[in-house]
């Protein structure tokens, strides 16, 4: 396997982008990544997108993106794994380069979510749960994650306030990210008095509905070393992927993300690193409880201590392991297919030392964790400054 480098990144300002279509979003991010790398050609495109069909009635989007990027003839593939679509598109792009199948691969994550009503968006996102056993019976993701939160609070005495600290921290980080959807500070009191969505989760515990795209350009590390222009080099140290049961009720524990632990273990092994080697991490905080549980599964906190990690400030900028310096899904936004790619964009900027006011000092190694559903699919990528 060849070593793989990230030579270009790009994303747009995320939000309710009434004036941008699915293709506009994907093309803007893709062109930015190509411009960032000063690339004059690409050999292959991988597009991560969860549900362009239900959100915008457009399937078959890989050739659409290729055509509108002006790359009409190159192989173009779409990858889908619910909210992990972006992370898995990155893994597929990595595999193409590492295996020698392609040299220069553009990975684009995109989702256009605001062309449908809130109810339709909830339905569409719900297709990532087990339709027959969960969705048909009325479960939605806020409801499923609320059950996980309640169980976590019951078993580990995690507090309502600890959930709030995750949102407070991520909004504080998002304030420093010009691409974030919600660049506003929130207080723990505001989180706790926000509209209740599914007890104990309130509106400010939940990631929003977002339009957005992100893109990264990959090539063999050797080529990158020869052609590196301007930026510090970032290398993919290891990627791990794992699977858990589709339905939450089939799991041994409601407050354990087994696929995250497994994907993390595989990524750490591939990279030859451990949790304490990480200088920063982007984790999948679709709900505040998800960040707490992911931090535990990835070894940043002992089991049951994820709430304290956020409360103690250890996961804040300047803390021991800054988590979601980008603002996370909570503040940056969660265009589901784009999220996993945007995590790679954030890590790359951190490892290049280009993250501006949210820069983690001496960041050499970082981790991105992206998952689908309640964690049925998970991919963990570890990047390092080369």
């Amino acid at each position: 396997m060849r070593d793989v480098a990230i030579i270009g990144v790009g994303m747009n300002k995320w939000g309710e982008l009434w004036k941008s279509s699915l293709r506009d979003l994907a093309v803007e991010a893709g062109l930015k990544a190509m411009a960032d790398a000063k690339a004059d050609h690409i050999d292959s495109i991988v597009v991560g997108c969860m549900s362009s069909g239900l959100f915008t009635a457009q399937e078959h989007i890989a050739p659409l993106v290729a055509e509108y990027l002006g790359q009409g003839k190159v192989p173009a593939t779409r990858v889908e794994s619910a909210c992990a679509s972006g992370g898995l598109a990155f893994r597929a792009g990595f595999a193409e380069v590492a295996s020698g199948l392609s040299d220069v691969v553009l990975v684009v994550g995109v989702e256009k979510m605001t062309d449908v009503s809130g109810d339709e968006a909830t339905f569409t996102l719900g297709t990532a749960a087990d339709q027959e056993y969960e969705s048909y019976n009325g479960a939605t993701f806020p409801g499923l994650y609320a059950m996980m939160a309640n169980r976590h609070m019951h078993e580990f005495k995690t507090t309502r306030r600890q959930l709030s600290w995750v949102a407070v921290k991520n909004h504080a980080n998002g304030m420093k990210n010009p691409n974030a959807q919600y660049r506003s500070e929130v207080t723990a009191e505001e989180v706790e008095s926000a509209v209740k969505v599914a007890d104990p989760l309130r509106l400010l515990d939940c990631s929003p509905i977002t339009d957005g795209a992100a893109a990264v350009l990959l090539c063999p590390l050797d080529t990158a070393r020869k052609k590196a222009k301007g930026h510090g080099l970032v290398k993919v140290l290891g990627i791990g992927q794992a699977t858990d049961t589709m339905a939450l009720h089939s799991r041994r524990s409601l407050c354990e993300l087994a696929a995250v632990s497994e994907a993390g273990a595989r990524a750490y092994k591939a990279a030859g690193k451990g949790p304490s080697d990480m200088n920063c991490a982007e984790v999948h905080d679709c709900f505040t409880i998800a960040e707490i549980m992911a931090a535990e599964a990835l070894g940043f906190a002992a089991k049951g201590k994820g709430g304290r990690l956020a409360e103690s400030g250890a996961s804040s900028l300047g803390g021991k392991i800054p988590i979601n310096t980008s603002g996370g899904l909570k503040s940056k936004g969660h265009p589901v297919g784009a999220t996993g790619v945007a995590q790679i964009v954030e890590l790359t900027e951190q490892l290049r030392g280009e993250a501006g006011p949210r820069q983690v000092k001496r960041a050499r190694t970082g981790l991105a964790q992206n998952m689908g559903g309640t964690g049925a699919s998970c991919v963990v990528s570890i990047l390092g400054a080369a």
Binding site: E16, W18, T114, S117, G118, V195, K196
Partner: protein, 353 residues
């Protein structure tokens, strides 16, 4: 140029109310989120015998009393609504007939979502400016529609406001200083033929629709008139909920005190075509000579009409001649339970034999 203005105004608000909590209880919704988030407490509900035509007649009669004008002298009657009782057959003919304005009278019904009322006022006022008619009546009225359990059900209310325009200097209560219209094709809210309830684009109804057009029209008319927010004693915006007009005011640099007098929505609900016109009636009820008033409507689809009025010394003399809007809002209220409310609104399917 001759002076044209409002010579009489009148309002009508049904006495029935339903509280936000009563609706939320039925649908398992969080009443607090509507009360806090949208600043809504209760809304008016028409009785079974009240509709856009009857409310328009009532409001217009009050306008005629204040104006001291005989119905036969009205040269044009325009009723703006999105709940005209008939799909084919005008509301305006029935209103004009009831006022005694027929047969020598021009009439038309207007439709432009929630700004149909100010469209009627716009055209009525300009016919007087042109000299085509001596007096012209513009009415905004609605028995607003919102699908059960939809967010709109918490606000869709009923009410009417009527304004008689003329150019007799002795009768003018509020001189019309400026008009302005701002509109684009923006599909934020619509109802197709045979659909029972309107549909809306959720959050799309905010930034690109309401706020863009309200602020566009407000800035446009102030620029045209060489005016700034502090020149106005009162400002009235279309009020689909409590929050939107307050936020629009803040965006434009108006103080809360300038908005509050014409801000009825928290206890009236959204009377659609009647909303900003009713706000203007509440302002005229208390205005003093020299007060400048800015009115900016909004209708989905989408557009805003702007008007600048200046109250004359006559306004205080006629305020007490007919029922005042705040009194109709505060007094003689009757609270309905959800069942009675849906019966009154014709939402229960009856045996058709």
């Amino acid at each position: 140029m001759k002076t044209v203005g409002i010579i009489g105004w009148g309002a009508d608000i049904p006495r029935n109310r339903v509280k936000v909590e009563e609706i939320a209880k039925v649908w398992g919704a969080d009443a607090e989120s509507y009360k806090k988030g949208l600043m809504l407490e209760e809304k008016s509900v028409p009785s079974p015998d009240q509709d856009t035509i009857t409310m328009s007649v009532q409001a217009s009669r009050r306008a005629l009393v204040r104006a001291g004008v005989d119905g036969a002298d009205i040269g044009a009657v325009y009723v703006g609504s999105e709940s005209h009782p008939y799909a084919v057959k005008p509301s305006g003919t029935a209103v004009a007939e009831a006022l005694g304005a027929t047969p020598e009278c021009h009439t038309a019904d207007f439709e432009f979502a929630c700004k149909a009322g100010t469209e009627g006022m716009f055209v009525a006022s300009q016919l007087v400016v042109s000299g085509a008619v001596r007096y012209a009546l513009g009415v905004g009225a609605d028995t607003s529609q919102g699908a059960p359990s939809d967010a709109l059900e918490y606000s869709a209310a009923a009410g009417a406001a009527a304004f008689l325009f003329g150019s007799d200097k002795t009768r003018i209560v509020a001189e019309l200083l400026q008009t302005y219209a701002f509109m684009t094709d923006t599909p934020d809210f619509w109802r197709r033929e045979h659909m029972h309830y309107p549909k809306h684009g959720g959050r799309f109804t905010g930034e690109p629709a309401y706020f863009k057009h309200i602020t566009g029209a407000a800035r446009g008319i102030m620029e045209k008139a060489g005016a700034k927010p502090s020149d106005f004693r009162y400002v009235v915006f279309h009020q689909p909920n409590g929050k939107f007009p307050m936020r629009a005011g803040k965006m434009l640099g108006f103080e809360r005190e300038q908005i509050l007098t014409g801000w009825l929505v928290n206890r009236l609900g959204n009377t659609y075509s009647g909303a900003s016109p009713l706000g203007l009636t509440a302002v005229l009820d208390v205005a003093k000579a020299g007060d400048k008033i800015l009115v900016v409507s909004f209708g989905s689809g989408a557009g805003s009409d702007g008007f600048i009025f200046k109250a004359t010394s006559r306004v205080a003399k006629v305020q007490g001649l007919a029922a005042k809007t705040r009194d109709m809002l505060d007094d003689n209220k009757r609270y309905l339970d959800y069942g009675t409310y849906v019966k009154f609104r014709g939402k229960i399917r009856m045996n058709e034999e």
